[in-house]
């Protein structure tokens, strides 16, 4: 693999292939309370074996109270303690909760908007629209919107009330909240559990995209795989324009994670928890430390929903600026907003019994089946929309949650492509200017704050998101609805 990486795991990880897409890591170490379960094809598995993904999956299987197995999804790669692209469910009473199982970017997630425009209709105005969005949505290092300021009091209310607070201030439409996971608000948020540093970081960054792998794309529906569901979600036909927003809780969430990792380090000693890796630091779900983290995490979750809501509002405004027409005329309806990094209290059937569990999804998307009460009423007959962003310039996917996901992966599926090349290697191989030219040759308009980021985020630096979606579909943990491809990319 040469430059594609990395430091191998500290030990050989035994692996049993159960079928073409399912692998089991047996309980080969004494501390493992359950096995590991990995959903991947041969190629994805080969890549996982070059870094610490599988070792980390086996480590997660050590967590007190963990049920069934530690899950690694098709996009799994090495993360902080837990692999990215993983799920772990622990017993609500006897299990632990771990900030590392959520990650630094709490509620990093995706939202998708539909329009009633076709690519052909938009094309003459596309560059102008991309410019307007690039102007209106702050992106890149240190960016912020000069005319959008909130007070510390506002921030505390926002993280308690979630997207509705920001919609009530004019940045959204009735019905937007209904189409967000958790209706855009986790109820247990408590800002008194969030540090002043986190709040200060969050104050200036609300409504900003950030940089790195975060992006905003104007896309078109490339192919529809499930007509009925696509129609229900508002994806009417191939060529229809959509907008995807991918970002998270910015400095607010990063600081919450950082602060509570420190708290958990002490908790591990206090509660005498034995772990194979200190990065799995956790606390019993019923402890004050866990309760505080969960309340602070919920604040960051709500911050991220609101962040994407503000950005979506400015996207709608950008359409208005370009066309001098009310944005409602273009549809611009929110299909759904999903979290990729989150911990939840959920009920799952384990050994034929209903169990209340802490579900950690780190780089994983909830994928609930039709009929689940957590799904918006208008989609409940179909199932929960799953949104998987690709890397810059490739494709993104809309999938559908399934009953199979409830059986196999605690109602979860993959969240993205997962990197293949290190950023350093990508920069050696590509130059931002070339990437831009290559994309523009394919008719993709590019607006980016940083040429460096363009090179680092080159699509060849990522695993093929189509394969990730395909494996998810084959395993049945979320089935294909539609494939989207970008026509304009806005990057930090």
């Amino acid at each position: 693999m040469g430059e594609s990486e990395s430091r191998p795991p500290p030990e050989k990880i035994p692996l049993e292939k159960l079928d073409n897409y399912t692998w089991r890591i047996p309980q080969y170490k004494r501390g493992m309370r359950v096995p590991g379960m990995v959903f991947a094809n041969d190629n994805l598995m080969e890549k996982m074996q070059t870094d610490r993904t599988l070792w980390q999956c086996a480590n997660v299987a050590h967590l007190p109270g963990i049920y069934k197995y530690a899950v690694t999804l098709p996009d799994g790669h090495e993360g902080y303690g837990f692999p990215i692209g993983g799920v772990a469910a622990t017993d609500y009473d006897e299990g632990v909760i771990s900030p590392g199982g959520v990650g630094y970017d709490i509620n990093c997630g995706v939202r998708l908007l539909t329009t009633n425009l076709s690519e052909q209709t938009l094309r003459p105005k596309l560059a102008q629209l991309a410019n307007a969005i690039f102007e209106n949505v702050p992106s890149g290092l240190g960016s912020r919107r000069k005319d959008f300021k909130i007070t510390p009091g506002d921030l505390d209310r926002l993280v308690v009330e979630g997207v509705q607070w920001i919609i009530d201030r004019g940045l959204g439409w009735a019905g937007d909240a209904e189409h967000c996971e958790e209706r855009g608000c986790m109820k247990n948020a408590n800002p008194s559990k969030v540090s002043a540093t986190a709040k200060n970081r969050g104050l200036t960054q609300l409504g900003t995209l950030g940089s790195g792998n975060h992006f905003l794309e104007i896309q078109k529906v490339d192919k529809i795989y499930n007509q009925r569901t696509a129609k229900t979600l508002g994806l009417e036909e191939e060529g229809q324009v959509t907008v995807m927003i991918h970002c998270g809780s910015r400095g607010y969430g990063h600081q919450v994670c950082s602060d509570y990792l420190r708290v958990m380090e002490h908790a591990v000693q206090k509660y005498k928890i034995t772990l194979p890796d200190r990065e799995l630091a956790c606390a019993p779900g019923k402890s004050n430390e866990a309760e505080d983290y969960f309340q602070a995490m919920a604040c960051a979750v709500n911050y991220a929903f609101s962040n994407r809501q503000a950005i979506m509002h400015w996207v709608r405004q950008s359409f208005q600026q370009v066309y001098h027409t009310e944005p409602e005329k273009f549809g611009l309806k929110l299909v759904y907003d999903v979290a990729h990094n989150i911990a939840k209290v959920e009920t799952h059937t384990i050994d034929n019994t209903q169990k209340k569990v802490w579900v950690h999804r780190k780089g994983a998307t909830r994928a609930f089946p039709a009929g689940h009460s957590e799904i918006p009423a208008d989609y409940r007959g179909e199932g929960q929309p799953v949104l998987i962003p690709g890397s810059m310039g490739t494709s993104s996917w809309v999938l559908l949650g399934t009953e199979r996901a409830m059986e196999l992966s605690f109602g979860s599926t993959a969240h993205g492509a997962g990197r293949m090349l290190s950023r350093a290697a990508a920069k050696r191989r590509y130059w931002g200017g070339n990437i831009r030219t290559a994309l523009e040759k394919r008719g993709v308009v590019v607006r980016a704050a940083s040429a460096e980021v363009l090179a680092e985020e080159a699509d060849a630096a990522y695993k093929d998101v189509d394969v990730v979606a395909d494996v998810s579909d084959k395993v049945g943990i979320a089935t294909k609805v539609a494939r989207l491809v970008p026509i304009a990319v806005i990057k930090g």
């Binding site: 790195g212 990065e279 980021v453």
Partner: protein, 145 residues
């Protein structure tokens, strides 16, 4: 080999993996900070015309490195300050752990002047190492971006 590199970027798939070097722990800490700002911008274009003093305390050297970098990252995010010069005047063991005092110099971020590279989300303990030899200290750490 001539004068040793201040820092280098190592291979890591998702994030930024840095090795920072110094003749002393304090110098390695200074170079670690420089490396972090080099991730965000071209630090050579950051003028050293504003000065800040800071004190960081932590329970051990690893936590001190984490807190030192996090303190600077937070200063960037809250006050928009980019730094390019770092002078640690003391780094010592105390009754509670470790403490450093530093003077840092830089200027306010200006998108028209400063190269925009990648924003750093967080410092992590992932693969963090403090390697001390007779004449050199190397710090290895990963920044989440």
């Amino acid at each position: 080999m001539e004068k040793a590199k201040k820092f280098e970027f190592m291979e890591h798939t998702a994030d930024v993996y840095i090795a920072a070097h110094g003749a002393t722990l304090a110098e390695a800490f200074e170079n670690a900070a420089l490396a972090m700002f080099e991730v965000m911008t071209d630090a050579s274009k950051v003028a050293a015309n504003a000065e800040d003093s800071l004190t960081v305390e932590a329970e051990d050297e690893y936590a001190l490195l984490y807190s030192w970098l996090e303190t600077l990252l937070v200063k960037f995010e809250i006050n928009s300050m980019l730094y390019s010069q770092f002078k640690i005047s003391s780094l010592e063991e105390t009754a509670e752990g470790f403490k450093l005092t530093a003077t840092v110099r830089g200027e306010k971020f200006n998108a028209a002047k400063h190269t925009q590279k990648v924003a750093v989300k967080a410092v992590t303990y992932h693969r963090m190492e403090i390697i001390k030899t007779l004449d050199k200290v190397t710090l290895e750490f990963i920044l989440d971006i």
